[in-house]
Amino acid sequence: MSLYGMMRTGVSGMNAQANRLSTTADNIANSDTTGYKRSSAEFSTLVMPTTGGAYNSGGVTTTIRKAVSDPGVLQYTTSVSDLAVSGDGFFVVRDPSGTPFLTRAGAFVPDAQGRLVNAAGFQLMAYSYANGVPAATVNGFEGLEPVVISDQVMTATPSTQGNFSGNLPAGATPVVAANLPGANAATAQYTSKSSMVAYDNLGNKTLLDVYFTNTGAGTWQVAVFDQSKATPGTGFPYTGGALGSANLTFDTTTGKLTGAVTGVSLTVPNGAALSLDLSQLTQLGAGFTVADAKVNGNAPSTIDKIQISKDGTIYAQYKDGSTKPLYKIPLADVQSPDQLMALAGNVYSQGTDSGAIRVGFANEGKLGSIVSGALENSNVDIAEELTDMIAAQRSYTANSKVFQTGSDLMDVLVNLKR
Amino acid sequence: MTSVSSAALTNAMRYQQMRMQADLVKATKESSTGRVADVGLALGARTAQSVTFSRDLDRLNGIVDSNGLISARLSATQTSLGQLSAAAQSLLSSLTSASSGDGANSITQSSGNSTLQQLTSILNTSVNGEYLFAGTNTDVKPINDFSAAGSSAKAAFDASFVARFGFTPADPAAANITAAQMDSFITNDVQPQFFGAGWQANWSNATDQQIVSRIALNENTPTSTSANQDGIRKLAMAATIVSSLMSSNISKAAKDTLISRSTTMVGEALSGIGQVQSQTGIIQKRVSDATDRMKTQVDLFERHILDLEGVDPAEAATRVANLTQHIENSFALTARLQQLSLLKYLT
């Protein structure tokens, strides 16, 4: 029990409130910083041992808490590369020297090299699709690389499979064998014709003429030709003959395809082997109708823009409208996000008490989803900070009064000796 | 919930107005013409009927018109035949008086002469440039004038007399001709000139063939007479004999034979002409009957056509009035609808 002790306690209280005011100042200053997490000062008592009836005033110690796990409000923007995490999880970024960090500040823009860089200059890390569909390395940052969006040219994909479904007219007049399209004579006759676009190895479009010809009750011949080889005006004969043909048999009671042959195989000129699935064809008493027709493959094209899906996949969208996944953005999490070590630039690194960093993909486990075109606001509430500030100011004043009272008493004590 | 789009609201109105205006144009035309505006659209395949009716109507009117021509020709023929008959009658009376011994030979002869001239002039009557008695050869005078200079008929007659008797009728020797000789002359020499090849050679240019005309859609009939009719030939023969021989020197007996033969001949001629007259009358009747019939048909066809193409004028007028009213209503409604907008109330 001493006046000095009381004065020290007052000083400790003032220091604590100064800390608190500092956090408030920081919070207000960063109230509009994307991904900023509010700091707060938590106090705990420092107790001096008391002897008998003497009370030794102790002090107050300050612990700084970061409300990292408290999500901010999402603010929608118009840029697809603005990312936010809705739910738990952090983006993995690295500084220019290559050290990985976690962050929720997702205002990414491409830099000169095409890397996605946020406002603090950290580069977004993701797994590349270059070697197939990536898998996350759970306990580390291995395999992650900076996302680079360059004007890469897509390679063409040759057609390998297709399907054609529809109805062939049941009442069609059969064509004699010599005049079947498969024979490729100038006198060829057919029942119905359709055509489809397929892609060769270089991604060039090739038009395939598909002829359906009735050869008898329930039997049809399918013949596929390269339209560019047709005789002008008449069609038949095609130079080089049919690319492929097959004989189909339909059940005359159900109108469904029976028999082993359910498709036609052919090789696209300058392209890959293509198998055309015809298993959904029917032969009913209606006219020739096409219900669906599709052949895979695509033509080469350049990147038009990128888009990012909720699971974090970065797609390149090409001029022809097709898309291709380039990267998959992982999310990282720790057991106790609030214990992460905050560093400049809204980034965090693993702290002693935070638990180990685990890496996974969005929507997996308790990880949240990635929202493209949105940013996470800071979770600071100005009103709260201001009231805190007032409270801190009053506390500080009270502490200073304690000190002053101690000082005054000390004065009285010193004057006793006169 | 059924909702109405603004475009559909105004469009439906516009479409209706367009249709009504198109209908109005048609209705106006129909009410002013009394016929459907577009026959083809109204009748469709039955247009063929309407076309056929109109065509037949035109044809019938055409035939009625041409029947007028035929009637004119026939009545002129009838008049001429009447005149011929009168001439024959007067010849007969002068012959009768001659046979009873009255009157001088010269009077009888001149009567024959004038009959011959009348005959020639009547038979050479023409209507519209067509000789009535020419058969089909209507552009040539059917009868050659016996009294004209160089008449081949007269020459042939005179020659036949000289050939038979060796002298002319004016020769005094003619007084010796007996009645029997005269009779034989008339039968064997004169008759062939009128009923044999002589007629066509010297007298007539007419053909036996007559003009055949269509007097109704399916009725054809000869509509002319020919100078080659027997009655006319007989009259011509009687008149020729009388005019050539009566004032000559031939004997009384021969003259009596001559008169009696001529009298008989004229009598036959009268009945022949009468027959032609009645035939012509029958044709006239047929033509006028046909005309009447066709006029009835024309009426019928006109009614048919009216049935097919006609429009009740009262109905057409009502339709015009109705459509006008509708269009006005529609305009008023459109104007109202344009007013009916929430925009008016949002200020």
Binding site: S86, K193, K205, D209, K305, D320 | V4, D139
Partner: protein
């Protein structure tokens, strides 16, 4: 929850409201655009305060398909009907005034008059004039038909070019739709454009469509020929520079498959192309055959006959004279080559008396052997022959046995019968097209009043949000003044 959150929510509400307002104003702006589908702004709350606006487009697939098929049907029918209107007018004239039937009736009348007074050569000349009128009617009709066919051929060529260019535009629109759908952007405008193009295409050819992944549309014709799949298929047609009777026109090929022409008055033709093909190769060609048969009938009816001599051409003649065309067999183009026999034509040094007496083909054929000027038997016989049944080629489409004059009248009847059906069907199909368009418009179009009331709602929301911001601002100001 905090004041800042309240401020943020109010802000996002403002953003959402302004996007909704943009949609409303777009709807109002395009209220009169028949190809515009109403947009509906759907607001979804994703997270507290976060609202995203999704733009949906009102569609009714069934009504749209109905509308397309009604449009095609009407367009085909209308092409036929309006074409027949033009054709009928140019061949038969107003109220059939210049039709062969009318000309033959006049000839018959003149013949009747001439038969009544055969010696009158003025009337005889009238007959020849009437005959010339018949010939002119046939020649001109034949020429008009072939001109019409050439013209229609040209129109088909233009239509094919239009169709190709529409398919090209369709490819662009389809590509925009696919790429927009893949990237998740609002493709309403591209869909509107694609639907509008589809309507235009169905004007030319009936279409059936199906949609593959990413809104990629495949367009087939109603009979299954591919019209568009990833890329447009070529529609090809070689126009002919001119037509002769009996000459077949070139077909229109889509993807090398020929389009079939329509048939019947209530035509099976769907789309303008099939309608025009029917006009060119069906209606006009049949009409030509009927004219040809009428011409043949006339030549036959006026043929000169003589015992133990072959029949020879009389008043009407043709390049095959003096022979008469074989009975009951169509000779293509006869109507354009028929002419009046020069031997009877006063203006060509002939005389109508040859008609009256016979003998255009030599003395053996003279019927008026006595040479009478009022010989009428032959003339009356000609008049009878015009009414006498003879056999006609069934290929020309009408009565196989009838008189020439009836045949000519029946030809008009046939034409008007088809035209009447076409007109009735055109009215019905137009009404259907109109009704389906109305129904579609009702389902997908804009009601301005509805949009306006929505606008009022939005205005209120906006005002409320703004008020919210003001209140929060006031509260913060109060706090700040407490600090100060």
């Amino acid at each position: 929850m905090s004041l800042s959150t309240a401020l943020n929510i109010a802000q996002s509400a403002l953003l959402a409201t302004s996007r909704q307002t943009a949609v409303v104003s777009r709807n109002v702006a395009d209220a009169d655009n028949p190809n515009y589908s109403r947009r509906i702004a759907v607001v979804t709350s994703t997270a507290p305060g976060a609202r995203s606006v999704d733009i949906q487009r009102a569609t009714d697939d069934l009504l749209f398909r109905q509308n397309l098929s009604a449009l095609s049907a009407y367009s085909g029918q209308n092409a036929l009907y309006s074409g027949m209107d033009r054709l009928g007018l140019s061949v038969n004239g107003v109220d059939n005034a210049s039709s062969p039937s009318t000309a033959i009736a006049n000839l018959q009348k003149a013949l009747q008059l001439y038969a009544t007074s055969p010696s009158n050569q003025n009337i005889g000349s009238t007959v020849i004039d009437a005959a010339k009128q018949v010939v002119r009617s046939l020649n001109d009709g034949s020429k008009a038909i072939q001109d019409f066919r050439t013209q229609t051929d040209g129109e088909i060529g233009t239509a094919v070019n239009d169709l190709n260019s529409l398919l090209g535009q369709f490819q662009d629109a389809n590509r925009a739709v696919i790429s927009g759908t893949r990237s998740g952007t609002d493709v309403s405008d591209a869909l509107d454009q694609r639907d509008a193009l589809l309507k235009k295409i169905s004007d030319y050819i009936p279409v059936s469509t199906f949609t593959r992944g990413d809104n990629d549309m495949v367009v087939n014709t109603a009979d299954g020929t591919t019209l568009f799949e990833t890329i447009p298929r070529s529609v090809t047609f070689t126009p002919s520079s001119g037509y002769a009777a009996g000459a077949a026109g070139n077909a229109v090929y889509i993807d090398n498959v020929p389009i079939s022409a329509g048939s019947g008055g209530n035509t099976t033709a769907s789309g303008k192309l099939a309608g025009m093909l029917q006009l060119r190769d069906g209606v006009a060609a049949t009409m030509q055959s009927q004219l040809d048969e009428t011409a043949r009938g006339l030549i036959t009816a006026f043929a000169e006959t003589a015992p133990s001599m072959p029949n020879a051409t009389g008043l009407f003649t043709w390049p095959g004279a003096p022979g008469v065309p074989p009975s009951g067999a169509l000779i293509n183009g006869l109507a354009s080559t028929i002419s009046v026999n020069a031997a009877m034509d006063p203006s060509a040094g002939g005389s109508p008396t040859v008609l009256r007496d016979g003998g255009a083909n030599g003395a053996a054929y003279v019927a008026n052997t006595s040479g009478g000027a009022s010989y009428s038997t032959l003339l009356v016989a000609y008049g009878d022959k015009l009414d006498k049944p003879m056999s006609f080629d069934p290929a020309a489409g009408i009565s196989v046995t009838s008189s020439v004059s009836d045949y000519a009248a029946n030809s008009i009847g046939w034409f008007q019968g088809v035209r009447q059906q076409a007109s009735t069907a055109a009215d019905a199909k137009e009404a259907l097209a109109q009704r389906t368009a109305d129904a579609l418009s009702n389902a997908t179009g804009v009601n301005v009043d509805q949009e306006m009331s929505l606008m009022l709602d939005l205005e209120h929301t906006y005002q409320a949000s703004a008020r919210m911001m003001k209140t929060v601002d006031d509260m913060l100001a109060a706090l700040l003044s407490a600090v100060g």
